[in-house]
């Protein structure tokens, strides 16, 4: 019997199967149906834009010298998520820069995986909104075949897209904000309206999220809290002023479902306590309704989540549960 090959490790000696790369790759993989839906609704441009943001994200990850995080799956999540928030017609060089900014300014600069305060994909999107406001808010109509480009994706770098070649359409939120016409809930739920790549089909996103929740990689409390808050608040607002959109429209339009399911639940940038997740979700919900109805922009989910991201450390601190054996109810100190 040889003892030389025995190892010595600290307890516990068993480990639950879920590992960080498994979680990250599962989340990344779970978005495949959403990407497929984007391809179905917007054609080949959808895949090109998502590929560009993902390559941009991974290039930044590698460029900042983080070899190991290149394979942990987190960079892919950021890249694909960012892609899903963009219009199909966005020139690819812009998408690439957005991906690189997401990881570079959104994650690496804070110290890499686990250290960032703000959701990297949304930070990247915020950058693109500031840098390229017109292409970021020009929405293509659905192409006639999936192989037809939705816009001038191959515009040369530093050149703006040729908008003349593009058929544009207004998003449901844009219609509501600027023309006061409300799209019905069913097309919103199924995704047959225009918008960014991943904000169209609520149904597909909810199914993917349910799978992640079942695997234990997504805490259902955050989206539940966001949906409940938006529904309650918009019902109230709609009751006071029927000219404003009702809860179904508010829930299934824009990026709310994608944001609530995939971005507000980002483990790194959302609270670690369950009470905190309810509060975080309520905060996002309130901000979404307020910004959509009274803000200058039709879309609000990005700013709502980014603002609440900043509050996470505070939320964590004030929502810690009562430690066992301390402050026992009914027991005098």
């Amino acid at each position: 019997m040889t003892a030389s090959r025995l190892v010595v490790t600290a307890s516990p000696h068993l480990k639950a199967p879920a590992s960080t790369p498994v979680i990250m790759w599962t989340v990344a993989g779970s978005m495949a149906p959403i990407v497929a839906a984007a391809f179905y609704f917007f054609g080949i441009s959808a895949l090109l834009v998502i590929a560009a943001t993902t390559i941009g994200a991974l290039a930044a990850e590698a460029g900042f010298g983080a070899r190991r995080t290149l394979t942990d799956g987190s960079g892919v999540i950021t890249g694909v998520l960012l892609g899903l928030t963009l219009p199909a017609s966005l020139p690819l060089w812009m998408a690439f820069i957005g991906g690189a900014v997401s990881i570079g300014l959104g994650k690496r600069i804070f110290g890499g995986l686990g250290h960032n305060i703000f959701n990297p994909a949304l930070l990247g999107r915020a950058f693109l909104m500031a840098a390229f406001p017109v292409p970021m808010t020009t929405w293509p109509a659905a192409p006639s075949t999936v192989w037809q480009l939705a816009g001038d994706n191959f515009a040369a770098p530093l050149m703006t897209a040729d908008r003349a070649a593009m058929v544009t359409a207004a998003t449901p939120l844009g219609l509501a904000k600027f023309e006061h016409t409300h799209t019905d809930a069913l097309p919103l739920f199924l995704g047959t309206t225009t918008g960014s790549l991943g904000e169209t089909s609520a149904a597909v996103i909810l199914i993917c999220g349910a799978y992640l929740a079942w695997r234990g990689f997504l805490n259902w409390r955050t989206p539940a809290s966001i949906f409940a808050t938006v529904a309650l608040l918009s019902s109230f607002v709609h009751w006071v002023n029927p000219a404003l959109p009702g809860p179904l429209f508010m829930l299934f339009s824009g990026g709310l479902v994608l944001g609530a399911v995939y971005m507000a639940t980002d483990m790194v940038t959302s609270p670690t306590t369950n009470r905190g997740r309810w509060i975080f979700g309520a905060g996002v919900g309130v901000l979404v309704v307020v910004i959509r109805l009274w803000g200058g922009l039709p879309e609000a989910v990005m700013f709502a989540i980014l603002l609440m991201n900043g509050l996470v450390p505070y939320i964590n601190r004030v929502t810690q549960p009562r430690v066992f054996g301390t402050r026992i109810p009914g027991v005098a100190v």
């Binding site: 003892a3 600290a10 000696h13 480990k15 306590t273 810690q320």
Partner: protein, 445 residues
Amino acid sequence: MSTVLRALGFLHGVHPPEHKELTARVPIRRMAYPAEVVLPVRQHAGKPAKVVVTRGDQVERGDTLAVADGFISSPVHASASGRVTAIEQWPHPDGTTALAIRIAVDPHSAQVARPRMVPDWRHLTPQQIVQAVQDAGVVGLGGAAFPTHVKLAPPKDAKPELVLINGAECEPYLTTDHRSMVEFPERVHLGIRVMLQALGVSRAVIGIEKNKPDAIDAVRAAVPADLDVTVLPLTVKYPQGAEKMLIRSVLGREVPSGKLPISVGVVVQNVGSAAMIGEVFDTGLPLVERIVTVTGHGLVKPANLIVPVGTKLRDLLEYCGGLTGDAAEILFGGPMMGLPVSNLDTPVLKGTTGVVVLTRSEVRAQVSYPCIHCGYCLEACPVFLDPQYLGSLAMAGRYEEMPPHHLADCMLCGSCSYVCPSNIPLSQLFQSSKVAVRRLKAGAA
């Protein structure tokens, strides 16, 4: 009421794979005496015992080798007849060495103890019972090895109401308590009877995880008609067998932070310790052997064995058919809180609940990822700490900030490390942090 209908539990906790099927149905056997036993004087919490034999002495099984040094201490007895060959430093399961008495076992001895008086518990005062339990060297057999008699002599102002017998055995792989309850339920009840008398308490509860229905049935069927003993099935969850969790599960009471179970009127004893007390008052023999589960996928023939205290790991493994080709790590105790042992001369102690041999594929990976704030550890911690925050403080060396975040309430159960997807050794960090905090306090004083 069916054994499975009602099961009691605490909040949070984890569900590691049980792996108890390897030995759950294997009857307890007596291991053949090894050629040598080695008995450290430090086998219990409290002061080490004082050696009273010298090299060359002939000893019989059950003879005292070392006496208790004060009240919170426990004597050590010869676990086999033979000759004292050396009293020297010897490898200890905790990774250090300790003074130990080596006995060359007499191969021709029948290993029968000297005739001795069996104390008649019916006519003993509580003080006499406490003394008899201490003299027999009984310590907690659940792993912590706290001297059992100390818990039977609570402070004057304490009001014990209930004896709570811990039959949870929530550590994966181990079936020591399980088999004891199935095979020796009368011993358990005799032990309970003696403890109730020592404490002046009339009521006892035995908590058993419901994954051991045969143990629940056996112990329940053996409850003497004149004793108020309830057998309660518990949910299968780690760490159900942690003292404070068990009390929470059974009584719904929380032991205040920093206090002992007696502060809520409860005396907790491991079921193996109860059976051992029963044995002491049945045979008169002190604690010289114990039941050990020797198991794991890295072992050829897993077994539940009655083993002389001081049996070396090498002999135990050989008796169980040796290691398999992919055996990688040997543990004393269960895989959640057990100690890794790399020296095959390490002896089985009174508190050794089992020996588990893990295979290469089971051993924890050594690569860690950064904390992704998933919050799994907060959901796992049975005492509701924030392990990820405490872990970040520990990694930054900010030990002075840890006590306000209740580091002292961490019982090192390992649930946080178990669930951590980034494989951060949280439990290990907290163990070293506790040492660091003690050092800071010592430096400040």
